[in-house]
């Protein structure tokens, strides 16, 4: 395979660049900070491309494995490796970082170095989560991602940022503490090993599996976020700066979905099957209930935040129906949601930077003044509504097909998103973009500049390519998903 430790590079290149950016100091060297950040982000993205090109989609197990001792007294290893699922998420994360750096180029004028550094470090840490094969390493990366995001919201956020940042931090931290206990328990049961694959083989009685499942569930459900532990997300999004919202929605939420796939399902398969109806129920509530809540939002960012929760409901639904279409649909939905939610938040950011308002009522007739933006925003709105030909359709379609195999009414409830998703997205678009010019602030709007056009254009291309030809995204998944499902179907209950 490759000589270069690509995964380590994907993790550490952004982090080192982030630290380097910090050394540029105050805002007098802001331009240097931006350039270094961009170089770091681009390198971080470039090193992930060989991961895709030399990934062997036909072979199972983990690839690009890299293993050195870390804390030997507790048998903790710096152990990395990826399968198809993590591969896509790493690519998404690294690309998003580049876009976020470009998007913040002009908008952020204060504490530029710190801002860029926070995003770069966060990017590296999240790549760490997606490639860790050692439970302790996973946990450390998983928790440490909270810190940069906490800072991003708390420092560059809106007026109510302290409440939002604290809520975000405590919610997610409390959620994941129990999972640490579960991991330590598993360490003991597995005979003093933190290797995830060893956890996969440990037999456990159902009652213990359920406890471990709940511990993991607390951590991941908050992250996704699932109903009813979702209320931190709208607050966090509303207060976060645009870049923060983009990374939060596009990548951080996926840590939850990824956690279910990497930890919950293979480690406690029987409990996962046993409790699946509950998770499916919560997912469908997310799709329907949150869809209705999104409809009546008056704040654009809140609306998109609720729409994110609703779309993430498809991820958890797809995972817990345990068939190929469901799980592949869930992963593709995560990737697509990464593109679309990032684009939607960037679009709101474009408007916010000009008008300093997120209230739908303050807008109207923006399309008159910003035709290029209107066209791009329309594309993303349609993608958010799951229109075929855009990436938003692929995951939802597969999950609905998968759900139909399990129960007609699961598919029925999930398909309601076809109506609600279109209703809340297009109604917002109508009120913001269509109509006569609403007021003199709108009348003075300038169409998007080159930076904004570049970032939105890249996302638009990805949304269309994935919608028209999702096969390149899906083909790396097949073997990994089949292995995962094969694993889930094997009971781990100890033989009587």
């Amino acid at each position: 395979m490759h000589e270069l430790p690509l995964l380590s590079l994907a993790i550490w290149a952004p982090i080192i660049a982030g630290v380097a950016v910090l050394f540029t100091g105050g805002d007098r060297n802001a331009q240097a900070a931006r350039v270094i950040a961009l170089i770091g982000a681009v390198i971080g993205f470039l090193v992930t491309i060989p991961l895709y090109t030399s990934f062997d989609a036909q072979s199972g197990g983990f690839q690009f494995v890299h293993r050195v001792p870390w804390i030997e007294s507790f048998n903790v290893w710096y152990h990395l490796g990826i399968d198809g699922i993590s591969l896509l998420l790493i690519l998404l994360n690294s690309l998003t970082t580049v876009l976020v750096v470009i998007a913040g180029w002009q908008v952020i004028q204060q504490r530029v170095a710190q801002y860029m550094a926070a995003f770069l470090i966060l990017s590296g840490l999240m790549n760490g989560v997606f490639s860790a094969l050692d439970a302790m390493l996973f946990y450390v990366f998983f928790e440490s991602t909270l810190i940069p995001m906490f800072i991003i919201i708390g420092v560059w956020g809106g007026p109510n940022r302290v409440y939002a940042a604290t809520k975000f931090f405590l919610y997610t931290l409390l959620g994941s503490l129990l999972s640490l206990v579960a991991l330590i328990y598993l360490y003991n049961v597995a005979g003093g090993s933190f290797v995830l694959v060893d956890f996969y083989e440990v037999p456990l009685p159902l009652s213990l599996q359920v406890i471990v499942f709940i511990a993991f569930f607390m951590a991941f459900a908050v992250k996704v976020p699932m109903w009813p532990v979702h209320t931190w997300l709208p607050d966090a999004h509303v207060e976060a700066p645009t870049g923060g919202s983009v990374v939060l929605a596009a990548i951080m939420l996926k840590l939850g979905g990824y956690g279910f796939l990497r930890l919950s399902l293979p480690i406690v398969p029987d409990a996962s099957l046993y409790l699946a109806p509950v998770v499916i129920g919560l997912s469908l509530i997310a799709v329907v209930y949150i869809g209705l809540v999104a409809l009546v939002q008056t704040d654009m960012k809140k609306l998109i935040a609720y729409s994110s929760i609703s779309h993430m409901g498809f991820v958890t639904l797809g995972i817990f129906i345990f068939n190929t279409q469901g799980v592949e649909g869930a992963v593709l939905q995560m990737i697509s949601h990464g593109f679309i939610s990032a684009a939607m938040f960037l679009c709101v950011g474009v408007l916010y930077d000009r008008m300093h308002s997120r209230q739908i009522a303050d807008y109207g007739g923006v399309a008159n003044k910003m035709p290029v933006f209107a066209a791009l925003f329309m594309l993303f709105a349609m993608a958010n509504a799951g229109l075929p030909g855009t990436s938003g359709f692929v995951g939802e379609f597969l999950v609905i097909l998968g759900a139909m195999k399990v129960n007609f009414w699961y598919a029925f409830a999930a398909a309601i998103t076809l109506i609600f998703g279109a209703a809340y997205t297009l109604w917002m678009y109508k009120r913001v973009m269509f109509g006569a010019v609403a007021n003199h602030h709108v009348a003075e709007l300038q169409d998007i500049n080159a930076h904004e056009c570049l970032v939105l254009g890249v996302l638009a291309a990805l949304v269309l390519v994935m919608g028209v030809w999702p096969q390149p995204f899906a083909e790396v998944l097949h073997v990994s998903v089949n292995e995962l499902l094969a694993h889930v179907s094997l009971s781990k209950l100890p033989l009587q």
Binding site: K167, M404, Q471
Partner: protein
């Protein structure tokens, strides 16, 4: 890839290329280059369609993939083409009407700042519609289905500063989404039971699964085919505007007239009819589903025609007539007369495009006035438009020898022969609908083109009534949405006092009209091959028990025979009577309609209110969803989850800390007391044990 396969690809890709060029570079290359290039794309498309059509009629049917969209588990999702007589016919209709509309647009949209955008949209629409009809699988069908919905949304809202237009386009999209909801579930059921979305494989396997049943509610078992077909048909009800999902189509008239002709009459709205005909191997296996289709179609055909009789907006008359004609097609499907349905689709595409484009020509001449009360006597000013609209009306009313006669007559006859439950009801409504059709078609002709020249006479009672109504609507709009009131009022007044004499539209407008009027006259003459010959071959399946078309074929003795036979039948005389009534009311006694309106106030109000469906939907569905959303948000998210659970647990921690803090009082005697109490408790416990 053979040369023919390359042609298949060229058919949809030529308009797509036009759409992309016009969309991305339209501003840069200018108006002239934009319309030249998109029309060139359409010419290539039509020529290729024609070559493909000839090839298919020569017996060369194609069914094959283009590329693999996605593989998931053991399911391959392909993009591919099925080119058979059914799809080749649709390709011809779509590309021909689309080309005409492209040309017409040069004239109609000449002054519009969104000229290039419009061409981009209509070319994109043509691409989407072609992908829909050429598909060989359910996935691509759904792609095209949603894509035409998207373009329809964009085009209804083309004038996006008008509040009515952006209300109408959102409504159209959402109502269609309700249909798509059913459609998608139907597709998912197909995939689940057949394991593939490929037409050929599904149809081949349909017989095997005909006996299967499915339990959606515990203890209630339904035939699988019935459930699948009804779900698929719900999709068709959205797209082809069947009751009760028809409510979006009249409002879609907010879009520019060329798209009303192309999308909301000739092509897109017939996608549902096409789809059901394509799925005939499935529908034929369920009597219940056919009966459902039949009844929905009958309701639409008759009750929508009634609304057309009271409308004043010239486009809305045509829109309701479209709904009614779509109802006829749907009835034909329910009666297993698929070839008749497609034949009516074929003739209707021409004569309805003529009516819409003719209405558009009138609208240009009247400076964007659409109210027929302000027209009258236009025939002598715009003779070409008049002649073409007259042809369209004759065809729409179903009078021989015009195209609509043959297709409508066949449908009515097929309903007479049909045996599916509900056929009698459908037949009665279809026959009654013929009278109404004759009436509203000629009401339009006489009211707009004959009689007094009301456009020049601001004191005519009809004009006064129209102005009063326009003012009331403007006031209501101002009340609803005071942001836009000023703009709209000015708009209304601009056109109110226009008294230039109308004149014939330019050649780019009337040439397409004439080219579409020709098939509106003679398209029906091909009924022999189209309906009674084995034209569709294997693309349509009819269950041997459904004998309506077969027995009618035996009674068919050529076009002339059919016309002479019709002279002795009820529908013909009803159509004539309808036209005669319109003549009496609008030419002989023009003061009478107003009297009748007053006399039959309740009926007229019900019809003007469109049976109250719009109000109900706004109140129940739109209002209900918003109320529910607000309730869940304020009650669920904010009150219960955030205040009680999240902030509540934070407060609980604070409260517990407050209580526990008091224990650490710092006084020695408190601690000493606690120690002694503890020691005593432990001792007591040890002793009692």
């Amino acid at each position: 890839m053979t040369a023919m396969q390359k042609l298949y690809l060229l058919v949809p890709l030529a308009p797509l290329a036009g759409a992309i060029i016009a969309g991305l570079f339209g501003k840069a290359i200018g108006r002239r280059a934009t319309h030249t290039l998109t029309i060139l794309g359409m010419v290539v498309c039509l020529a290729a369609s024609f070559l493909v059509y000839r090839d298919v009629m020569g017996g060369n049917i194609f069914n094959g993939p283009v590329y693999t969209w996605l593989v998931s588990g053991n399911i391959r999702f392909e993009i591919g083409f099925l080119i058979d007589p059914l799809s080749a016919t649709m390709m011809m209709v779509v590309s021909f009407v689309s080309l005409m509309v492209h040309i017409y647009t040069i004239g109609y949209m000449a002054d519009d700042p969104g000229y290039q955008r419009f061409f981009s949209y209509i070319s994109l629409f043509t691409f989407s519609m072609l992908m829909l009809v050429m598909s060989n699988n359910f996935l691509q069908l759904f792609f095209g289905w949603e894509a035409v919905g998207l373009v329809s949304y964009l085009l209804i809202g083309f004038w996006y500063t008008r509040p009515t237009a952006i209300y109408a386009n959102l409504k159209a999209f959402l109502v269609n989404r309700v249909g798509d909801f059913g459609f998608l579930l139907g597709i998912a059921l197909v995939l689940m039971y057949f394991g593939t979305l490929d037409y050929a494989a599904v149809f081949a396997g349909a017989g095997r699964l005909a006996g299967n049943s499915i339990e959606l509610f515990p203890g209630v078992s339904w035939s699988l085919m019935t459930v699948i077909c009804i779900l698929l048909f719900i999709g068709a009800m959205g797209k082809s505007a069947q009751f009760p999902l028809h409510v979006w189509l009249p409002d879609s008239m907010e879009g520019p007239t060329p798209i009303s002709a192309l999308i909301h009459a000739a092509t897109m709205v017939t996608a549902g009819i096409f789809m059901v005909a394509r799925m005939s191997p499935l529908f034929e296996l369920s009597e219940t589903a056919l009966s459902f289709v039949l009844i929905i179609g009958a309701i639409t055909a008759f009750f929508m025609a009634l609304i057309a009789t009271v409308q004043y907006d010239i486009k809305r008359v045509v829109a309701y007539s479209t709904l009614s004609q779509l109802g006829y097609m749907t009835m034909a499907l329910g009666a297993s007369a698929y070839s008749a349905a497609i034949f009516h689709l074929f003739t209707h595409a021409f004569f309805k495009a003529v009516l819409f484009l003719g209405a558009g020509s009138v609208i240009i001449a009247m400076h964007h006035q659409q109210d027929m009360r302000k027209m009258g006597g236009l025939a002598k000013y715009m003779p070409i438009t008049y002649m073409t609209v007259l042809i369209g009306a004759l065809a729409n009313a179903g009078l021989p020898p015009f195209a609509g006669f043959f297709s409508k007559e066949t449908i009515v006859e097929a309903l007479h022969h049909a045996t599916v439950p509900g056929a009698g009801f459908a037949y009665a409504l279809a026959v009654a609908g013929v009278f109404v059709g004759g009436f509203y078609s000629f009401r339009l002709v006489f009211y707009a083109f004959h009689g007094k020249e009301r456009f020049a006479d601001p004191h005519h009672p009809d004009v006064i009534a129209a102005d009063a109504e326009a003012a009331a609507i403007a006031a209501a709009a101002a009340h609803d949405d005071h942001k836009h009131d000023k703009h709209e009022n000015e708009h209304a007044h601009d056109h109110g006092h226009d008294s230039h004499a109308p004149h014939e539209s330019p050649a780019v407008v009337w040439v397409p009209l004439v080219l579409l009027a020709i098939p509106s006259v003679c398209a029906g003459w091909f009924i022999g091959t189209f309906v009674y010959g084995n034209y569709f071959g294997s693309s349509i399946t009819v269950h041997p028990a459904h004998t309506a078309m077969a027995s009618m074929a035996q009674g068919f003795h050529g076009v002339i025979g059919m016309m002479t036979h019709a002279l002795g039948t009820l529908p013909f005389w009803l159509a004539v009577a309808g036209a005669g009534t319109a003549w009496y009311l609008y030419i002989v006694r023009p003061e009478l309609p107003a009297v009748l309106r007053r006399k039959w106030g309740v009926v007229v109000t019900i019809l003007m209110e469109k049976y109250g469906l719009d109000r109900f939907n706004d109140w129940f569905f739109a209002g209900g969803a918003r109320a529910l959303g607000t309730g869940l948000w304020k009650g669920g998210d904010i009150a219960v989850i955030d205040n009680v659970m999240v902030n509540g647990s934070a407060r609980l921690v604070g409260w517990v800390a407050g209580v526990v803090r008091r224990v650490q009082s710092g006084y020695i005697y408190h601690y000493a007391f606690a120690m002694i109490f503890g020691v005593l408790t432990l001792l007591t416990w040890a002793l009692i044990r």
